[in-house]
Structure formats: C-alpha cells, structure tokens
Amino acid sequence: MLHFFQRPRSPFKTGVLVLIWGWMLTFVLLPNVMIIFTSVMTRGDSHFIEWQLTLDNYIRVFDPLYLQVFISSLWMAVITTLICLIIGYPFAFAISRFPAHVKPFLMLLVIIPFWTNSLVRTYALKVLLATKGLLNQSLLSLGLIDTPLRMLYTEGAVILGLVYVLLPFMILPLYAVFDQLNYNYIEAAQDLGASKIKTFWHLVIPLTMPGIIAGSLLVLLPAMGMFYIADLLGGAKHLLIGNLIKNQFLDARDWPFGATASIFLTSAMAILLYAYWRSIKLMKQQVNV
C-alpha cells in the first residue's frame, strides 16, 4: 500500500476513471447481464417478464419454425461474406498498388458509402430494383428481357442489399493488410522458382489472413442483425435473426425468447472473435519461427 500514498492522487484522474467506468458498467455491462437474466425467465402478461426460472426459451430456439430462421439467416450472412470477400480481395489489392498520392483518394471513395446512411442506401437499392425501376427499364429497352424481372422481395435481393451495405467493411481491413504487405517475400519466392499460383496460395493468402478474417467478421456479424434490409428488400418472407429478435421484443412482446435469440447471436459472435484472436496469435508464432 505504501506506493499508493507516495504519489499524490490526482482528483482529475479519479474523476475521469469514475466517469468512464460508471458509464460502461451502467450502459454496457448491466444491460447485458439483464438480458442473460431475462432469457431464463418466463414471459409475463402485465409486465414483460415473470420471475420464474425456466430453460424453455433455450429449447424453443430449436423449434423447426425458429431454427429455420436461424439457419437461413446464417446462410444469407455466409453467402454475403463470401461475395464481399471475392469482390473485395482483388479490389483492395488493386488499390494498394496505386501510387501513394492517389491511394487516399481511392480509399475516401470507399469510406464515403461506409459513413452514409445505410437505410437511405438500402432504399436507393429498392428504387433501382423495383419492377418498374431503372434496372428493369434498361434491360427491357436493351432487349435483354421481354417482361420485367421480379427482383425485389427475393432472397437474392436481401443478399444484394447486405453486400451493398457491408462491402466497405470488407475492403477497409483488407486494404490495411495489402498496404503493409512486404513484397520482398513474394519476389524471393518467385526468384526461387515458385509459380504464381503457388506464391499466391502459400504466401499471399497466409500473409493477408488477418485482413481476411477481420473483414469477414465485420461483414458476417452485422449481416445477421440488420433487420431493415430484410424488411425493405425481402418483404415479410426472408427473415434475419435481427427480424426475429425485433418481432419478439416489439410485436409479440415475448422478451425472454427475444433475449435468448440475442444470446445465440452474441455467442456466435464470441466464438468467431475467439477464433480470430487465436488465429492471429498462431500466425505471429509462425512468423517468429
């Protein structure tokens, strides 16, 4: 305890620490603990929950009706992530090869959509995809199709919307790794006679893995929760986990079940973040050896 008194305590430091800890405990830790509690309670009519312990909500998640929403939402999120990776990987690489004075501008063009209202952007996509929208009109006048295609309210439209809104989240971390990629390794590999495919597979992919994983997480996690995208582009049919949670909380008023669904989403996130952390650690060990 002695060193504690040797240094005069600054009231400023104490004040700042109390403020931030108070805020994080009240608005982050406490609410999440409450959700965990809610998930093992019974649904109440007058109040939202009744103080009766139960595990029913956890069993109900495996009801085929809800399980199907979970699986189809996960499926759409995975497809979205893969499409973003396939589009974003070569794109981020291409930007990193531009001269240093052009790169910030090219990246600004990626960041602008990232910071503009995603609801407005989803709505813009809806306008474009509508039966009488510009895309159908153009295809008709080009003679590529005879009757307007029904593009809205399909699973494809929801995936397209998710890719459209989340693509910058994939490009940003990928660009960060490509920009710091050490090309000496690649030249060395080629000098030693490695083919292009071999160099790419055994060198470029492992070296850019942190960016691939970070980008995939930043796309995959929100892709399960953005209920307004499914709502605007998928109609009532193609639900995300986010729609399910929203319906339970705001319409069906079944808080305990909504809380359980949210815990499943959070657990998926925690597992993925842990995998990310582990793989970064392993990667660092490999480089050191």
Partner: protein, 256 residues
C-alpha cells in the same frame, strides 16, 4: 503497372457502390409524380419535403439528438482516450475489451439490452433514452479516433508542462487538449453522423413522443416509394458527406 483490366474492375466496383445513390439523387430532381418516368428537372420534391411539418419536426429532433449525443460522447470518449494513454490503472485491459465489444457487437444486441435497462430503471422512452443510447454506441469510435492521435505525440511536452508547475487538470486543459483538438473535432463529426444514421438502436429505445428522421423515413418507405423521401435522402447524404469531408480534413491537418 496497373492494367486496363484492373482499372475496368475497379470502375465496376465503384459503380456498384455509387449507382444506386446517384439514381436516387437523380429521382429527387424529377418533376414527374410517378417515380419511374422522367418529367424534367424540378425542385418540387424538396419543396414538398420542406413543407411537410411531420418530416421537418422529425428532422429537427434528429439534428438536436445528433448534436447532444455527439457532444456527450466526445467528452466521455476524449477523457477515456486520455486516461488510456496517460494512466496505468487496474482493469485497463477489461476497459479496452468492453470498448472493443461495444464496437463489434451487432446493433440489435445493444438495442434490446438498453431497452431492458430503461424499462427497469423507469426511464421514459424518448429524448433522454435516445441520447444515452447514442452516446454509448459513439464512445468507442471517438476513443479510437482520439487515441490514434495521442499515440503519435511527443510526451516530453507534457513533462515540460509538469516541470513548469501545471497540475494534471491544467496540463490536460492547456497543453494536451489544444494539441489533439483536430482529432477531437473529427471524433465529434463521426459521432454526429453515426447518430444521424442509426436505425436499429433507435427503433427500440424511442417512444411515441419523440419521432426522429431515420425512423420516420423507415415507416414511409416500408409501405411504398415516396418522391419526397428521395429529396430528403439527398439532403441527408449531403449532410453526411460534408461531415465526413470536414472530419477527413481535420485528421489530415492534425497529423501533418
């Protein structure tokens, strides 16, 4: 060497990112009542949007909310960044972890947990609950912005201030804050845009007495496509764009 194939590919991706927005802006200036036929240039939908009292009230609410939330989050976020940079304290790792969790966790998870908190504490759903929620999700972004400026900054200046007899508060107020001011301003602008853009958290923590713009737009476009919304969306895009460019310039100025 950047080949034509690469350039073509990049153009396609940029087109994908920008085409829907550009089409929306085009429609905002369309005179025709129908969304899909071109009737010449006109500002009538901007006029219609500006004369729509409900829309304008929601816009006013949103701007006030964004200003208050960005200011609150900037104060807490900046102080947190300074604490993380300057001090050693117990639970520093945990605090970092919590901030990271807030940044990574899906909005909807935060939304329901805050709703549960407000109901339990008996906080009326409306302006207060919206401000508290928006401050919470803005804080990590501001911490990151300010901290990255602090981490490439010469600590000898602070030692000098201490030697000249400043206490902790005076040093922060008169030396540290002026130096990192561009980053603080950039953080404020990011908080402002984040607050203005949020749909998910606001859907849960708002009440019937305080309607905000994104939710008003959401309920309008769920049922159909409205030309006034195009005009309003164009204005919102312009505000976000200006805020982003200002913050970009501030960060640039701060690092040079």
């Amino acid at each position: 060497m950047i080949t034509w194939l690469t350039r073509g590919y990049m153009t396609l991706v940029y087109l994908f990112l920008y085409l829907p927005i550009l089409v929306l802006i085009g429609y905002a200036f369309n005179d025709s009542r129908s969304l899909y036929t071109w009737g010449g240039l006109s500002l009538r939908w901007f006029e219609a949007a500006l004369n729509n009292t409900l829309l304008m009230q929601a816009t006013g609410h949103s701007l006030l909310l964004a200003i208050v939330a960005a200011t609150g989050a900037t104060i807490v976020g900046t102080l947190t960044a300074i604490a993380l940079y300057r001090y050693r304290f117990r639970g520093k790792k945990l605090l970092n972890g919590l901030l990271f969790t807030v940044m990574m966790s899906p909005d909807i998870v935060m939304a329901i947990s805050l709703l549960a908190l407000f109901i339990l504490l008996g906080i009326h759903l409306g302006f207060i609950s919206l401000v508290l929620s928006h401050i919470t999700f803005c804080i990590p972004f501001i911490v990151v912005t300010v901290y990255s400026r602090l981490s490439n900054f010469n600590p000898a200046i602070l030692e000098a201030a201490k030697d000249l007899g400043c206490n902790e508060w005076q040093m922060t107020r008169h030396v540290l804050v002026p130096i990192i001011l561009p980053a603080i301003a950039a953080g404020w602008l990011l908080g402002f845009t984040l607050s203005l853009d949020d749909v998910v958290v606001s859907t849960f923590v708002t009440g019937p007495t305080y309607e905000i713009l994104p939710l008003r737009i959401y309920s309008m476009v769920r049922v159909g496509l409205k030309p006034e919304v195009n005009a309003l969306a164009t204005l919102m895009l312009l505000i976000s764009l200006l805020a982003l460019l200002a913050s970009h310039l501030l960060i640039k100025k701060g690092s040079s």
